[in-house]
Symmetry: C2
Subunit: 245 residues, 2 copies
Amino acid sequence: MAAAEAERPSVTGRHISRKYDEALEDVRTSVLEMGGVVEEQISRSLAALAAFDSEIGERVVRDDYKINRLEVQIDEECTRIIALRQPAASDLRLVIAIIKTITDLERMGDEAEKIGRTAVRLAGNAPRRMRYAGVRNLGRHVQQMVHQALDAFARLDVEAAVAIAREDKMVDLEYAACMRELVTYMMEDPRRISEVLDMIWCARALERIADHAKNIGEYIVFLVKGKDIRHTSLEHKELQAQSEV
Amino acid sequence: MAAAEAERPSVTGRHISRKYDEALEDVRTSVLEMGGVVEEQISRSLAALAAFDSEIGERVVRDDYKINRLEVQIDEECTRIIALRQPAASDLRLVIAIIKTITDLERMGDEAEKIGRTAVRLAGNAPRRMRYAGVRNLGRHVQQMVHQALDAFARLDVEAAVAIAREDKMVDLEYAACMRELVTYMMEDPRRISEVLDMIWCARALERIADHAKNIGEYIVFLVKGKDIRHTSLEHKELQAQSEV
């Protein structure tokens, strides 16, 4: 995030009140901070799962409160800005995009917590971890996507935001392949059904994290372009992103 | 909803501008309309699943656009109100609660769509439908919870909103029991793993719908009491609801 943060432009321009500019910048910085914590939680939960490490898994579960706390704090900052500053046009879009973004970030945190819990549960079993390469690859891909989404938010980069929707399609395909693989393990050895089911939940959690990243991409387009591209096809999104503001 | 709608009080009181009052009432009515469509979609998806009826299932998938359209429309209404009316205090809380509520309603619709898709997929298999009583009971319970949430929203009833969090705990227990039952089916007959997995996804979708209903309950408390009760324990929520405004 550091590189992206350094060069991030101000969408809001300059206001007569320097305090207003600062308030908007502060809340954007808070969102990036929250994003950083979420990235760390996802990364730790995947490490816990790869090694069936209950200690790291428990830490992920314990640290989820940090994300929740940031969500409530940012929500309050946004409410205060709307009430005190009565933002218009692009400032208002920024605040609304932030209110939506932090909901998705918080839910990503919940999914990471679930993966952490699963790692704790599996740690006792010492299962055959070599088998789950599919879930691990999916995890790496999803991590990348979350990073892209936060980077696009930091730079308010519409093209990068639209690219995330494209990436989400790839993740969906990868997830489907991963699921097929996991089902065959269950069929081969019904005694492992519970264990494989746990890995299926993790794959599902990763797919959901990717969905949330995609949502954030859509808020960025809404924010910068003033257009709502949710519920439109990918081709349409690309066209919208290319069109003049 | 009809009875609840008739007696719903105005949280916003009267403004100097009658148009402003009307705009706030209109957007609340739109949310209830959206809620009605979501309830119908959930109800149909469960009917499709109970009878493995591909026709009803396809209709659910086809009709999801109605929910998406309402979400975008209400979002725009809210943005317009903030920009034109610069709402303060409880009005602002109402608008923010609505922006959050419709996101949860839209995601409920997505889960109903998933159940509809599963019903279509299973329709060809003609599986032993008697076995899935657990999922059907869970479905009834979740439907009830969604109705309670919308009712609490319509009447801005904080006690009813807190009761939803209590109900969600019950749904979680029911879901866990249902999952245990489904896993035993897989173990008994590994050839049915794919089919049972489909039912597991449906149970999961129902559990998520209940979560979204719980979220809506939390927004109602925030709206009426001006307190953010997310991420607090159930006992704490009850205390908050009882406390003086």
